[in-house]
């Protein structure tokens, strides 16, 4: 069979909604796209632990502290799960982590923004996880089997996080004037970066067309962004908070909210490394990796010695 035939069979599976599995033939570009996307997603989970972890020691009640610890722990779990999904495509977790630390691989730019007040922990759950879910619900039907299945589990936990985030925002928005001010300040800072999470406009998105054809993606960036705005604006209204967009209004004719122009200069600037926390995030990950090297080496050396000790009596008995 020629590679053309392979490719035709592959595309017909996709068209027939048959999942692609690790051992199936797939075009190199499909494999590369998936490794890139899944590992970026894994990196985002791991880097995403940092802005939230920033508030673990300052959580204002034991209940909130437990919720936050559990959430950040879930993210570590998602990271691990996604690196494993990438490994089914022949990638190696260590290589992927190296790509993150050297800046070769990207992660969601949203995590390059700082968490400055306690309401940010609510805003991240509500807006950032909210935006992520909009994207990830689509990915539960993505064409690559292991990725789709990982997403089913991750989505369940993410929607739990999103509800908890919104509940935290409610406590703040309906709380004292200071708490409401924190909530508003946090919405002001996270709203636009959350909209940017969906990526460039469809017209400027380099990978979109092929990804749609291969059903890695099933909706365009702009469609997903619109879904998110439509769902989230009424939630902000319920909280009595003002979305920081003077152009935001309901468009009866379209049946959607119209919203203002996204500052793409800011988006690209943060992607290129100039966000408020890009350096700190990578430095923190690098420090954890480097400081932990001797621990990982010790664990490996111990495992090898243990294995050898197991072998030795065997060898000794054979010799006798």
């Amino acid at each position: 069979m020629t590679s053309l035939n392979f490719e035709a069979i592959f595309q017909s599976k996709i068209d027939d909604e048959v999942k692609i599995e690790p051992k199936d033939w797939m075009p190199d570009a499909y494999r590369k796209t998936l490794i890139r996307q899944i590992s970026q997603h894994a990196h985002s989970e791991i880097v995403g632990m940092l802005p939230e972890g920033n508030w673990i020691t300052r959580a204002p009640s034991l209940r909130r502290k437990l919720i936050l610890l559990a959430k950040v722990q879930d993210e570590a779990g998602h990271g691990l799960y996604l690196y494993s999904a990438a490994e089914t495509l022949g990638a190696d977790r260590d290589d992927l982590v190296q790509q993150l630390l050297t800046g070769k691989a990207k992660y969601s730019s949203i995590f390059n923004y700082p968490t400055l007040n306690w309401a940010d922990i609510g805003a991240i759950g509500w807006l950032v996880d909210g935006a992520a879910i909009t994207n990830q619900v689509m990915l539960t039907r993505t064409s690559y089997g292991p990725y789709a299945r990982a997403m089913v589990r991750i989505c369940k936990e993410e929607s739990f996080h999103q509800r908890q985030g919104y509940e935290l925002m409610m406590a703040m928005a309906f709380g004292s004037p200071e708490q409401k001010a924190m909530a508003q300040d946090s919405l002001n800072r996270w709203w636009w970066p959350a909209l940017m999470m969906f990526g460039p406009h469809d017209s400027d998105s380099p990978h979109s067309d092929q990804a749609l054809k291969w059903k890695i993606k099933r909706k365009s960036n702009d469609e997903l962004r619109q879904n998110f705005v439509d769902v989230t604006v009424p939630q902000a209204e319920y909280l009595g908070l003002t979305v920081p967009d003077p152009d935001l209004r309901w468009n009866e004719e379209r049946g959607h909210y119209d919203f203002g122009k996204i500052n793409w200069d800011e988006f690209w600037s943060v992607v290129k490394g100039n966000g408020p926390c890009n350096r700190q995030r990578i430095q923190a990950r690098t420090k954890a990796y480097e400081d932990g090297a001797w621990v990982r080496e010790a664990a490996m050396a111990h495992a090898e010695k243990k294995e050898q000790r197991k072998m030795q009596p065997e060898a000794a008995s054979k010799a006798a």
Partner: protein
């Protein structure tokens, strides 16, 4: 009784807090998850204990009043748990010493004449058993692993060993409750705890300092300088904006 429960609660809260500081910075993702898991267990245990104290006192306080609105001298945790994370070997040694103590303590507390405490101990013992297994395994890995890890483990033991004495030296609160059969006789527990420590240290090929001076005072509210900073961070929002719901 409430003083004793606060000792247990504060141990769990403060150690859980320290472990939470690792979150996102551990040597491996698997360790991020494991350390956070222990932090979750301990913080959960602290919560149950504070709730029980609130119930017994009947002063209309809630769990957060104890964690967030007491100053350092009112905290009754042992000095060991407030010591900084240091490197991973420090964290493991601190955890192992505490787990070994905590395991035998809770196992004995399941026989407490106080029904609530016996029930609490039985429930927590499942979690603490896992903590002890985790920290013992890591003692072994670090001790047996490489020259570097062995040296770091030995150094951590030498630096933390003087916080072991306080664990099994009963204060007045514990002595009184031992007489009532509510809390175990720490002097008797000491044998079991030390046997466990000796076993794991030997397996890890490290040695405990002989005749080390033992620091104490935490159980009665006399702490190291570290606790003040832990509380400054932990209590910041509750102190800056008093009386709010979060």
């Amino acid at each position: 009784m409430t003083k004793y429960l606060l000792q247990l609660a504060d141990n769990a809260l403060i150690l859980g807090h320290r472990l939470g500081e690792w979150c996102g910075h551990a040597p491996e993702m698997e360790l991020d998850m494991a350390l956070t898991n222990i932090a979750l267990d301990l913080t959960g245990q602290a919560r149950s204990l504070y709730q029980r104290v609130a119930e017994l006192e009947g002063l209309g306080k809630d769990e957060d009043d104890y964690a967030y609105l007491r100053d350092a001298w009112e905290f009754r945790n042992v000095l060991l748990v407030e010591q900084p994370n240091g490197d991973f070997a420090y964290t493991i040694v601190r955890q192992f010493i505490f787990d070994a103590y905590n395991y035998y303590l809770h196992r004995a507390l399941t026989q407490s004449k106080d029904e609530w405490l016996a029930g609490f101990a039985a429930k927590s013992l499942k979690e603490i058993t896992y903590h002890l297994r985790f920290s013992s395994e890591w003692m072994l890995r670090l001790g047996d692993g490489t020259e570097v890890s062995h040296a770091k483990l030995q150094a951590a033991i030498e630096n933390l060993w003087n916080y072991t004495g306080e664990l099994t030296k009963p204060n007045e609160v514990e002595q009184a409750l031992t007489v009532q059969g509510i809390c175990p006789n720490l002097t008797q527990l000491k044998t079991e705890i030390e046997a466990k420590m000796t076993e794991v240290l030997a397996a890890a090929n490290v040695t405990a300092p002989v005749g080390a001076w033992m620091q104490s005072g935490g159980k009665d509210g006399s702490h190291s300088e570290h606790l003040g900073f832990i509380l400054a961070e932990m209590q910041f929002l509750q102190r800056a904006y008093p009386g709010l719901e979060w």
